[in-house]
Symmetry: C2
Subunit: 409 residues, 2 copies
């Protein structure tokens, strides 16, 4: 009955294959294209950037998802974002999809495309097409092929990110797995950089979308690296139904279990994405409890992990808690400073630093010890209600500046 973490990513669920290749789009010496493929057509749910400037591939995918198309494949490149590329950029998407049609005999409108990388540069279409051909001959259900794909989509990520869980629905074993890449340009107000999940569960498309929308709000939409929101942010979940479970078609217990499993995968991927923010040395978590409303709790938690000053203090292991209160104050959420309690928490201990509007004379040495951990939590008790929310980010470091001052070169 339990939901069990398992090894693997996009190929963990039945019937999903993956491949990758070094197409030479930007990088010379590594894989920079990946493909996910299911011979069985898939229902698809998605969430895309709300940035007014959308990459051509985001427009392409949104059209497929909103038309309720059944998908067979997702093709990703990690060299060029294909954003701010006008009509020519959209043509690149179509030609990529047609290349999949040519190699694997599935309709172009069953092929999603995704990009990450430099904005304002055209994709070399002939390399994309060649890459699709190469990958089509290498598709495999092996765990290694999923892992290789998760590496091929990385940009400034320092490690690949995969997660998967297994559980049962009506006696049938169901799997959800996925991969993501993040690092820069991750912002709470929308789906994060690139995340692709696959499942063999049989589930109605409307319910799949409902599960995605709900879970994303508590996971990918609760992380921030630099407050910038990408033109390319894409989350897609494909389900091919090969688990053979009775199709989930109402919001029953099976649906709840599916959502819980999806939450586990998304939470793990989102936390790892935050911890691997550009230049980050640690995961920075803000947990707000006893807030007046869910919305307030979310707003407060996100403001704290999103503040440059808070992030720099976390990097410096400086228990400058006033910066958290300051960020809470400009967040737009309603609260009284006099109600607030603040704690630092990590595997090294827990320390109260602010009590109902009054700063405490806390032990600085203990604070530093707590903050030196790889995962640091600021626990904020609002004492005004019952709602809570958690947001994830990372520290602001010299390396963040270094990475972004000369990204293109």
């Amino acid at each position: 009955m339990d939901i069990k973490r398992i090894e693997g990513g996009v190929t963990a669920a039945k019937g999903f294959k993956a491949a990758c290749t070094a197409a030479g789009i930007k990088y010379k010496d590594r894989d920079d294209m990946a493909m996910i493929f299911s011979g069985e057509p898939c229902e698809c749910a998605g969430a895309f950037t709300r940035n007014k400037v959308k990459a051509a591939c985001v427009k392409w995918d949104r059209n497929l998802v909103s038309a309720g198309k059944k998908l067979h494949a997702v093709v990703i490149n990690s060299g060029i974002a294909n954003a701010c590329t006008g009509e020519e950029g959209y043509v690149s998407c179509r030609m990529t999809a047609e290349a999949v049609e040519g190699s694997l005999n599935v309709p172009p409108d069953s092929v999603a495309v995704a990009s990450t990388g430099v904005i304002g540069m055209q994709l070399p279409v002939e390399k994309l097409v060649q890459g699709v051909k190469d990958m089509s001959g290498k598709l495999s259900e092996s765990r290694a092929s999923g892992t290789a794909a998760s590496k091929a989509i990385m940009t400034t990520d320092t490690e690949n990110k995969e997660a998967a869980v297994r559980f049962t629905v009506g006696g049938k074993e169901v799997t959800i797995g996925g991969m993501c890449k993040g690092s820069g340009m991750i912002h709470p107000d929308m789906c994060t950089m690139l995340a692709f999940l696959t499942t063999d569960a049989a589930i109605e498309r409307e319910l799949l979308q409902k599960a995605v929308s709900g879970v994303i709000n508590e996971t990918f939409n609760m992380i921030t690296v630099d407050g910038d929101t990408s033109t390319n942010d894409t989350f897609m979940l494909l389900s091919n139904g090969l688990a053979g479970n009775e199709r989930i078609s109402s919001e029953n217990e099976d649906f709840e279990r599916f959502k819980e499993a999806l939450f586990m995968v998304c939470r793990e991927l989102a936390r790892r994405m935050a911890a691997d923010g550009e230049g980050a040395t640690k995961l920075f978590e803000a947990k707000v409890v006893n807030a007046r409303s869910k919305e307030d709790a979310r707003t407060l938690a996100k403001a704290v992990v999103g503040s440059n000053l808070s992030k720099a203090a976390i990097f410096g292991c400086d228990a400058n808690f006033g910066r958290f209160l300051c960020a809470m104050g400009y967040s737009g959420a309603d609260f009284a400073e006099e109600d607030v309690e603040l704690f630092f928490e990590s595997e090294a201990g827990k320390l109260m630093v602010f009590d109902h509007g009054v700063p405490l004379n806390f032990d600085e040495e203990k604070a530093v010890k707590i903050m030196k951990a790889d995962e640091v939590t600021v626990l904020i008790d609002m004492n005004e209600g019952t709602e809570e929310a958690t947001a994830w980010g990372c520290d602001l470091t010299y390396d963040y500046v270094k990475i972004n001052a000369d990204y293109r070169t």
Copy 2:
């Protein structure tokens, strides 16, 4: 008839004195308190942080300004912010004002107080009181005393900031001068860190406030350093009427000239504050023209200078213009990517990089040359309307991180 820039700051206008002292509140070896004083009572207009968490001194000053009190003095310290300090913090304000009463025989409710520095720490009141006593004996109308005061209020600023202008109203010479300090925690959505202006113009209090509110929206509210909005942001303009002009009591030509002069002082102070943002190596200006509405123009310009990724690109002299479009896209303003033209501009030249939705193959060397200047402008032509706005910020550098990772130590 012209408005003339002159040397000086808060003591440029008739009847304003200043002093400063090393009170030892935080720094050991420099002045950290300043006072502005006018024997003639002053009308006062102000703008304060909209942060929900307000420093005790902000609460104190807002009460004075909203009650329409006539002011004689402003006392500032640059060691401790007096924010998140509960009831005790407010008592510190009153005791500071009472110290001025004791020394200079003016009512406590004619004394404004301001603080900048660490949040969440109590002020050493006895040092403040002693500081007031010291300064009361040193008050001077000299330009040097104004300059010394502008240095005493600095925290992470690398240079002091003063500006003043002189013009005539009905044949009488009128002066507006001021000083400010900024650096970290400067955010567009409100009055910036600390700015104190003085004028000898005779003007109704309501009109003084109207002028301040209008001018601030185009100057101090258009700069950003790190997106964080302080608990202490304070702008105050004191007018003692000693110029002897016919009192400005309607929105006539005199009022317009006064506003224009005020704009000149505020624009100069705001630009210098942006250019001296924590760790900054250059001024980063975004000028949006031909936008659909004033609000859109302001929103777009502020999003561009506020983006960490844009700021890092400006630091690295990397013409990664896609980041500007990305920031515009998530700003919330309405526009079509296909209408936009983008240019880099500085004293070294001007270069178009994006033309109506299409990236140009521009000369990278020329771009770098332009971006190496001390002041770099991104000119954004929306081609959708007639409104424009300019915002100012700075680049994001290693030093920003360094300054903020160990601020308290």
